[in-house]
Symmetry: C2
Subunit: 241 residues, 2 copies
Amino acid sequence: MLSPDELEARLKAIGAERYHNRHPFHLMMNEGALSKDQLRAWALNRYCYQATIPIKDAVILSRMTDPELRRIWRQRIIDHDGEREGEGGIERWLVLSEGLGLDRPYVTAMTGVLPATRFACEAYVNFVRERSLLEAVASSLTEMFSPQTISLRVAEMLRHYDYITPRILSYFEKRLTQAPRDSDFALDYVKRGARTPEAQQAALKALTFKCDMLWAMLDALHFAYVEPALTPPGAFRAEGK
Amino acid sequence: MLSPDELEARLKAIGAERYHNRHPFHLMMNEGALSKDQLRAWALNRYCYQATIPIKDAVILSRMTDPELRRIWRQRIIDHDGEREGEGGIERWLVLSEGLGLDRPYVTAMTGVLPATRFACEAYVNFVRERSLLEAVASSLTEMFSPQTISLRVAEMLRHYDYITPRILSYFEKRLTQAPRDSDFALDYVKRGARTPEAQQAALKALTFKCDMLWAMLDALHFAYVEPALTPPGAFRAEGK
């Protein structure tokens, strides 16, 4: 049985080892080594993940029997969907996609998304539906690692790609305040809620699963668009769709 | 194939025949024929339904892929859970329960709720999870019938039961504006979305299911607390718990 602080340290160690900021594709992005088409492929596939977020959060909401807990968790859905049309995280991701030259209807239709991306997103929704609420909440803890990754990514992207502007990257700016608020709550929930060695191991595995899922999305991108660049049939073509 | 207006008429005909305002238990309530303990049993069991509502709405939310649709539907969850502690529909139902002399922790623990009530609520959540989104939305259309029922109920309860005050019935007052807003949207969604004879029949059946579910809750109350008044083991006892 770990103390709550030991559990926190173990959770953070998972991120240090497995968070997708260490993936070769992300390293290339930060080094300015990706072509515009490769960045387009990234934005297009990541849209599938963004569109999945409020769905997985609504599944989690549907599993919470405490109105107090629901009031806190529902803010994630509001952040992503916005208060009205033209606002929210999904919309800001579309601004990024359009800024890279992708057509909005092509992005939202997700027809060019890699099958492996879809499967990973689907696995995430299934995970939060089927596992314990503690595991579902723990799987959100990748947000502990995102602010640092985002800060670096924004700075490096602005530096390396002349067609990237702060406006295009507004999604990330918002996440710098939203992610810590969300992960502070989730971390506290997991530290308090994991009261047996089994529950603690389950929480650690849940975060590992989530890191694996994000990593798998980049593996698929790397394979299809970097090396060996074998784009599957039907997917976005790096030379233009 | 029905026209949208014919479909609306058929949906409304289901309510005229099957909505729970026609159940003997509700007729007795409006006639002032229920004892305070029978009203307590009603409030206690209906709490189980109230607590289920945001859960089923979160399930529906998790099935909506359109952010615009989610922005509208999520308001139901906000209405029920409130903006902060001490607000919202669930809280107002607890005010009603406490006004009838029930302990709040006893109500929220739901230990005295009839098993048949739980099963009916569970069936509702399963329904919106397993059926089409159109059917899930159509099942909410009992709200078309609630304002009239609520108006009459509030007037009759205030007239017949001297311990019932407007403050205790504040839940119903809010629903008078929330329910029409919600059912107007849902009715429009169903009329537009049911584009085949099969989809129309499925929508009609979904509303029938929901009426059956509400009716079954009152059957269980009637059986346990009115006639033959055979209260099952563990359930709230009408002579005081």
